[in-house]
Subunit: 126 residues, 2 copies
DNA sequence: GTACGCTATATCCATAAGAATATAGCGACT
DNA sequence: AGTCGCTATATTCTTATGGATATAGCGTAC
């Protein structure tokens, strides 16, 4: 039988340059943290975002903590208690960080798109 | 006393986009592997390159192995025995891979240079 | 044929990263 | 006052990563 495309995760098609902003050996901002910020903005909580991204709350919390430490102002603020038990929100500052990061991702990606394709040709079937 | 700048490793100034080419969850090519290729090309052996980069031979060998598996042709060929006990060389194909990767690094870096600087302003003193 | 230095590989160990779990605290709402 | 769901944190366990070490095999030079 023809092999059915089995829920492929990263394949050659996913190739893209990754921007990683380092801060004292830790990643202050990268693809994963950007996704997390978007998920927190969407869901309004760290734990909901973690569930959506299928990671542990602990890990999500640590990522948020790393970001908040790296930037001059918090990118995420939290509150405990309240009707929903608490929650988290991406600050305006955080949204700006995210926006600028996304811009960088797009620019970098566009700038190497052509080269990336010829690179693909040199690789085995990812 | 004033705290003297203690042999800083990565600081804000080092910020640059990283290109990582993935192959089945493994990094087929990235900054570290590119450096290793350059070191092998320079030294003519995996172990000398490993020493130069202060990593274990095992690790260097694994990195080479990953690359060779990811690409259609080997990027490094080795020979055992001989006057120097053996050695390794970056193939012409490997040099092309490296060349193209370096080009991508430069282009991506240039394309986001401006944004990267404003990003820096939002971060704490790295 | 012995020595040399490198490749190639296996084994074991230390450390780091992350998952899972447990628990405390909080505040709005009922 | 009690419930709820989330933040915040500690603890334990598993797994992954890499370092260190040991050994075998190889071919040239001596």
């Amino acid at each position: 039988m023809a092999k059915s495309p089995p829920s492929r995760k990263s394949s050659k098609q996913d190739l893209k340059p990754q921007i990683r902003i380092m801060f004292r050996k830790a990643i202050a901002m990268g693809p994963g943290k950007a996704d997390l910020l978007r998920a927190i903005d969407e869901t309004g909580s760290i734990s909901a975002a973690a569930r959506q991204m299928e990671m542990s709350y602990r890990r999500a919390w640590l990522l948020v903590d790393t970001m908040n430490q790296a930037f001059k102002s918090p990118v995420v603020v939290t509150l405990t208690g309240g009707k929903a038990g608490g929650g988290a929100a991406v600050t305006e500052f955080g949204k700006e960080v995210l926006q600028r990061y996304s811009t960088m991702e797009e620019k970098a990606s566009a700038s190497v798109a052509k080269e990336l394709r010829s690179f693909t040709d040199m690789m085995n079937g990812g």
